[in-house]
């Protein structure tokens, strides 16, 4: 889990300053990001972790903090979705 957090934090730093960002800080509420970021975040998550983010997963709360992204990854990574 903490490994996920580290990788996600690194990705975030390409878009905005993460010096004072806590794992529980809401990156969308803090005015950190724009829609492009959201799109790139999802594309990156899908590629980096070989997961598929479904429409139902596209809840802001799943992506708004480093913690929530790591939790979602914990749920999805390595889980084989039945065809």
């Amino acid at each position: 889990m903490s490994e996920y957090k580290q990788i996600v934090r690194q990705f975030f730093s390409r878009f905005f300053r993460t010096d004072g960002l806590d794992d529980a800080d809401d990156v969308f509420a803090g005015g950190y990001v724009n829609s492009l970021f959201a799109i790139q975040l999802i594309a990156w998550l899908e590629k980096e972790f070989s997961i598929t983010i479904e429409d139902d997963d596209l809840q802001l709360t799943n992506f708004s903090t480093i913690n929530s992204i790591a939790q979602m990854l914990g749920r999805k990574v390595g889980v084989v979705v039945p065809a």
Partner: protein, 369 residues
């Protein structure tokens, strides 16, 4: 919209594709733009009439590039001496495959491969490109002056945007170069641009561009519906609709009119029937700004905001944009998803852009008064 209406939309879309308009013409050089082979004869001359075709395509807003097997520096110097170098965006002058060059041009300009025409005197070059990219329109160089009469090369309108399109792409190239060199977070870079978004209700002068936007924009388009001039005019004149158009500029210059939004206003809720923006502004967060504006107006009017979304193979980004702007999926009817935001929370505009509303939704005089 009923599923019948959806079928009509799809049929319209198919028709569009049949007479798909060319957005980029890729020229060969030797025996196509000039007479002879440059590396064998330094004194090659332009093929008579080619200059006129290049200038006319430019005037029509059709972009141009080059795919030539030549020495890059020598060929660029020659184009410069003819005074035509600046007509060509991302020229691919190398000894590699032309199929690869054509793909590189499509990627750099950010257009679909199916909107490219390729002109070359060598049949094996045309065949190689056609083999890798069956959707590219390949034209024999001997027919170059006939293309101006062909349907695919005649845009329905020539707008201010089309006439200035090449210059806008040139300033994009400048911007992108600065952006690629920028070290540090993307948001800091955006802040250096001095982005200014101007948005308001469309006027009659905007309608040609509005039609063009509905036809040219596929990726950042929430429904993919196309509207012609007359349909847009009717919408503009309708008391319960708003047609909003957005323009963007920054310190490198104007991007032109790049966003369009069609809003239907009912008593209880407003519905975004269409929201699109040009792919040239993909990394500028324009979608979120327009959505935030709509949310703030809906909040003032005390209504909910709905958005129709028709999934295509290219527009997932717009779905994500809505979902990340707090829109929930509420229903799905006949292939159209309805998303909704209760508009109780009004988000701020991003700090890197200034937003100017000129004759916005709230400014309309009540025609029923």
């Amino acid at each position: 919209m009923s599923s019948d209406a959806l079928l009509v939309e799809l049929e319209k879309d198919r028709e569009e594709r049949r007479t798909k308009s060319v957005k980029v013409v890729v020229w060969d050089l030797d025996n196509t733009i000039w007479d002879g082979v440059l590396l064998e004869d330094e004194a090659v001359t332009l093929i008579p009439g080619v200059m006129n075709v290049i200038q006319e395509l430019d005037r029509r807003g059709i972009l141009q590039s080059i795919s030539s097997k030549n020495d890059h520096a020598t060929a660029m110097a020659k184009l410069g001496s003819f005074g035509i170098a600046e007509y060509f965006l991302y020229p691919q002058i190398n000894w590699g495959s032309k199929a690869v060059s054509v793909q590189a041009i499509a990627t750099a300009i950010n257009v679909g491969i199916d909107s490219i025409a390729f002109i070359d005197d060598q049949s094996y070059e045309r065949e190689e490109v056609a083999f890798s990219h069956p959707d590219v329109l390949c034209v024999d160089a001997i027919e170059f002056d006939a293309i101006l009469e062909r349907q695919e090369f005649i845009p329905r309108f020539i707008t201010d945007e089309s006439k200035g399109r090449r210059l806008m792409y040139l300033s994009d190239i400048q911007r992108n170069a600065v952006e690629a060199e920028y070290e540090g977070p993307k948001d800091d870079f955006l802040a250096t641009l001095g982005l200014k978004l101007t948005m308001g209700r469309a006027t009659e002068n905007d309608l040609q561009r509005a039609e063009e936007l509905t036809k040219r924009t596929h990726q950042l388009n929430t429904t993919g519906r196309t509207y012609n001039y007359d349909e847009l005019k009717a919408i503009m004149d309708s008391p319960d609709h708003d047609l909003l158009i957005a323009g963007l500029e920054d310190k490198f210059g104007a991007y032109g009119k790049i966003g369009l939004c069609l809003l239907e206003r009912a008593q209880e809720h407003w519905t975004v029937k269409l929201l699109l923006m040009s792919c040239r502004v993909m990394s500028r967060g324009v979608g979120t700004i327009i959505i935030n504006y709509l949310i703030s107006e809906a909040n003032k009017a005390g209504v909910r905001l709905r958005a129709e979304f028709i999934r295509t193979d290219r527009n997932r980004m717009m779905y994500i944009t809505y979902r990340f702007s707090n829109f929930e999926n509420v229903s799905e009817v006949g292939g159209i998803s309805i998303l909704e935001n209760d508009c109780r929370v009004v988000p701020d505009y991003p700090p890197y852009a200034s937003v100017h509303i000129v004759d916005g939704i709230g400014c309309r005089e009540d025609v029923f008064a």
